[in-house]
Symmetry: C2
Subunit: 203 residues, 2 copies
DNA sequence: AGTATGTTTAGGACATTGTCCAAATCAGAT
DNA sequence: ATCTGATTTGGACAATGTCCTAAACATACT
């Protein structure tokens, strides 16, 4: 692990712990037993460091998005995995709005991944319709909106309202919410998959 | 309007414009043609100023919450009003997570209003069941969860994804989302109210 | 009117922040 | 061994929120 990676790793750890805005570069440097200027050598600005973390999360999520989702079960499983990634990089999602407002590099990069995610969810939903998991009259735009809102902010709400729960319990709370959301639009085959998914969370 | 109120008004204006974290007390003072120390006389810390804004929003919302909601239409109308208040104090909601993490006064106060809102929504939903607007088998906890998540973060998502829309269009977007959410759980009478509500947004 | 008392304003000090830079140090190839 | 480029250091800089003292002001009382 080279110096840049050590900085990234410790930064993620401290940012997750206390929030990006509340960890000074001098504290980060002190934890690494280096000088501040040494960090700015690898990452000229704090935003560059944050951008790097965002790239790492983006890569992590891209793997999950590329997977096939032949069933409603695996579609829900996909969100469980993405939410697990969110926990790993929770500092980014907890500062989501500020980062988008202030960090041009990040907000630019997000626009692209946003489009990809949107069309990915649309594709998956219509695929689930074809395979007989979802009813044909479902309002896709509505479902995508709720999924997007939840995926973006579930961890923000959890940090405020469910801080007493473990990460896994928090994840289960919100994937269950997504599962329940789909029930009215699911076929009998779909509802079976949702029950199977809910049961898989128990263990 | 006394000095403290002038400070509060200008602060809200600038905070909404550029974000609480990105407006310095010196800029605020300059806009008011006063000195920094003059602000800290009325509001010893920046958090005190933010707390005041939060109180104002809380009072504004409390009025709406106390209203009766005899129909599904007025229940949805309630959220439209609350969302309009959110727009007026959007700086607070855009910094929601940070404020909750850092500002003890604010997070303490929020815990109470959170409970009130939660039980208020529960009461309203069961009342709507009794009045024949909602089916009796609805999963109340699920609905409250989605409503809460949306009410907290709709404006954050709108600021990122729908910045090109006007405030009213943004509000309509998300109250429509809440309305659509209820459709599967509504009776025929309820669906009639939802259609009426959607139509009322057009004008 | 003059004085005393309490409120408001001015102005600056302080520590902390992210950023930046020049010099010192190190490492590896010639 | 020496030169060259990469790395590290230590400090300067402006901006931030906070704090404090002295001046200015207003109000009430003698």
């Amino acid at each position: 692990m080279n110096k840049a990676e050590k900085i990234v790793a410790k930064a993620l750890e401290m940012f997750n712990e206390r929030g990006i805005e509340y960890v000074g570069l001098r504290e980060l440097a002190a934890e690494l037993s280096i000088r501040v200027g040494n960090i700015t050598y690898y990452f000229p600005t704090k935003d560059d460091l944050v951008d790097r973390l965002a790239q790492d999360l983006s890569r992590l999520n891209a793997q999950v998005i590329l997977e096939e989702h032949p069933s409603l079960f695996s579609f829900l499983e996909r969100f469980r995995k993405i939410f697990a990634n969110h926990v790993q990089y929770r500092c980014l999602l907890l500062s989501f709005v500020h980062l988008m407002q202030q960090n041009k590099v990040l907000s630019g990069a997000y626009k692209e991944t946003e489009k990809k995610r949107y069309s990915s969810i649309v594709t998956n939903l219509s695929s689930l319709q074809e395979r007989g998991y979802l009813s044909l009259e479902v309002d896709t735009d509505f479902l995508v909106s709720v999924f997007t809102l939840t995926a973006r902010f579930w961890i923000s709400e959890a940090s405020v309202s469910f801080a007493h729960l473990s990460p896994v319990e928090q994840i289960n709370q919100y994937v269950t919410l997504l599962a329940k959301l789909l029930i009215p639009y699911a076929t009998e085959k779909g509802r079976h998959d949702i029950r199977r998914f809910s049961a898989s969370l128990e263990s």
